[in-house]
């Protein structure tokens, strides 16, 4: 039964089971790029995620927002060399990203997830796009679209872009990682909206920021399969609700019709 003992941080004295060495990353004192990673119970994938993050840019800092973790997520992140923000209670990806963004000091903010190992080479295009002037560099991945019917989140993302008169973005959205923001974009969007990604997406477009697709990373394949929830995934419901919140903001900003004309309907003729 000794073999099945939970592996802790304390190095094992047994020589028969050599432990893989943790990667080492260094945070630049004056970073140009901040990499923000919310993490909750992700100690298995975190070392590899941090290793790739450390290779993205020579002048960078990596911020791990460890929240609600009951495993050694925070300790591992600290051991590797990332800046760690610890929260006992679970925050969720979006709040974690907002908190990380508030602590970030770089000019480019790259957001990734702790449960997805994306090679550094696939992350660099997002950073480079913002470095060359883009405000919001999106992932072009929008989910499976080769059927008549699509997933509710896919429909929501396409609809929001269509209503924002940005059909070129297709299903690209701040809901998906990886994405990168310029400091200007973070300030324009504001912390509160940053917590609701579709709202942040809408605010960025309406305020005239340079929002474009920087690259396409198929995160659908990388996303770990989770245990079934019995019925609809509550995340789907949350994301669709977020899109409605974004549309609500659009209505407040641009009026009942979201800024679209009704081609001269004589509504008063009907009584």
């Amino acid at each position: 039964m000794i073999r099945r003992r939970k592996r802790g941080l304390v190095p094992s004295t047994r020589k028969s089971a050599p432990r893989r060495r943790l990667p080492k990353i260094v945070n630049h004192p004056n970073p140009l790029v901040s990499i923000i990673i919310p993490a909750m119970n992700e100690r298995t994938r975190l070392p590899a995620v941090l290793r790739e993050a450390g290779r993205v840019h020579p002048c960078s800092e990596t911020i791990v927002v460890a929240n609600g973790s009951t495993d050694s997520t925070a300790e591992i992140a600290a051991a590797i060399g990332a800046k760690v923000l610890r929260y006992a209670e679970p925050l969720g990806h979006d709040v974690g990203r907002r908190i990380g963004a508030e602590a970030a000091r770089g000019e480019v903010l790259l957001f990734i997830d702790a449960d997805m190992i994306i090679p550094a080479a696939r992350l660099r295009p997002f950073v480079n796009a913002v470095l060359s002037g883009m405000d919001v560099a999106l992932n072009g991945y929008s989910g499976p679209v080769n059927r008549t019917d699509a997933h509710p989140v896919v429909i929501a993302k396409h609809t929001l872009n269509a209503w924002l008169a940005r059909p070129d973005l297709q299903g690209g959205s701040l809901t998906a990682v990886p994405h990168a923001l310029s400091r200007r974009a973070v300030l324009a969007i504001g912390s509160k909206s940053l917590e609701v990604p579709p709202l942040a997406h809408t605010v960025a477009i309406v305020k005239g920021l340079d929002v474009r697709i920087a690259d396409m990373v198929d995160v659908g394949r990388m996303n770990p399969v989770r245990k079934p929830f019995g019925g609809q995934d509550p995340l789907t419901s949350l994301v669709v609700g977020d899109h409605l919140e974004a549309i609500h903001w659009l209505i407040q900003e641009r009026g009942q019709r979201g800024g679209y004309r009704d081609l001269g309907r004589l509504r008063s003729k009907v009584r």
């Binding site: 609600g68 059927r147 609700g241 409605l244 019709r257 979201g258």
Partner: protein, 345 residues
């Protein structure tokens, strides 16, 4: 060899006989298409709407006989002939409805197609046919002169999109109302299912455009908008079916609940119907995508009509949000709670 040839010939003859059994009766075929038992013809013939039609038929016959005696001018003669063709037994669809039914036709400079649209409607047992002529300057009004039963509403100035539909709906008191466009002749057999659905308890009978949809990546903003609205109102199964597309039919209950004013913005009426728990179905498919007239305003990525429909859907959601709050029925679980569900150990 010869024997085999003869056998084949025999088989062909019997096959021909089989097809001839119902082949001559166009009426039989049409009744089958409309989902009516052909054996029940007598009860259908006794229906008041049908009886009235036969009387009308006789009247026309009388006038034609008179016409033959007193050398009528040629245009009158052609008119009479037309009337006779319409009233031919078997040309109309003798459905037996419990309630009354009406049709509302919206036309805007549709002279070329309006007549055939109306001729198909006449084949249905409708109490009222209301034609709304919206800013017509091409003589659409006079093109309909030989149809005495029509109620024509003529608006010389353009009312804008869908306003005519609301005006037509306000005119009728029938139990079910069928909405069609003047630019798109649809066979009566394809219109009957919508009225039948209302008769069988639906409040809103939509055109099921699902068979004509391409895969998601090839769909346009209008289709996304319709799907999104249905999904947010808990009817993902309706896909892109919407009151935006014709033909569709509404029940009296739907008209009373929604109010004819809401029909000015079809997606708004659609959203309200779902919100109020009306029975919304899509009983039949008519391909309006392929047949729709191509205009400068409804093609291309930045077409004006697409903008109008997007605006309509935003307006519809704004209306729903007024009643149910911003997030409708979507989770209010905080992000932290959700993370706990998904990532907790």
């Amino acid at each position: 060899m010869r024997m085999r040839m003869r056998m084949r010939k025999m088989r062909m003859i019997t096959r021909r006989k089989k097809t001839r059994k119902y082949g001559n009766s166009g009426r039989h075929r049409r009744r089958q298409l409309a989902g009516i038992n052909p054996a029940r013809s007598r009860s259908a013939r006794n229906h008041p709407s049908v009886r009235r039609r036969t009387r009308q038929h006789n009247d026309i016959k009388d006038s034609s006989m008179r016409g033959a005696g007193s050398s009528s001018p040629p245009e009158l003669e052609s008119l009479v002939l037309k009337g006779e063709r319409e009233a031919q037994p078997g040309n109309y669809i003798p459905l037996s409805f419990m309630g009354t039914a009406a049709a509302v036709v919206i036309a805007s400079n549709e002279r070329a197609t309006l007549n055939s649209v109306v001729e198909e409607l006449i084949r249905l047992p409708l109490q009222e046919i209301i034609v709304v002529l919206n800013g017509c300057s091409d003589g659409s009004f006079s093109a309909l002169e030989h149809h005495p039963r029509l109620i024509k509403l003529s608006f010389p100035e353009r009312l804008g999109h869908d306003v005519g539909r609301a005006l037509g709906a306000a005119m009728t008191t029938c139990d079910s109302v069928l909405f069609v466009d003047g630019d798109l002749p649809v066979a009566a057999e394809d219109l009957a299912p919508f009225l039948l659905a209302i008769e069988q308890g639906s409040d809103v009978a939509l055109n099921d455009i699902t068979p004509f949809l391409p895969s998601f990546m090839k769909q346009d903003a209008v289709t996304y908008s319709k799907m999104f609205l249905n999904m947010t109102l808990g009817r993902r199964d309706l896909l892109a079916n919407s009151l935006t597309a014709v033909p569709h039919a509404l029940s009296r209950k739907a008209l009373n609940t929604l109010g004819h004013i809401s029909l000015i913005v079809p997606p708004k009426a659609h959203a309200l119907a779902l919100l109020h728990g009306l029975t919304v179905t899509a009983p039949h498919s008519v391909n309006v995508v392929k047949k729709n007239r191509i205009r400068s305003t409804n093609t291309g990525p930045t077409n004006a009509v697409a903008g109008l429909i997007k605006g309509d859907h935003i307006e519809a959601l704004a209306e729903v949000m007024k009643a149910c709050g911003t997030r409708l029925n979507f989770t209010r679980l905080t992000r932290g709670e959700l993370a706990k569900v998904r990532n907790g150990r």
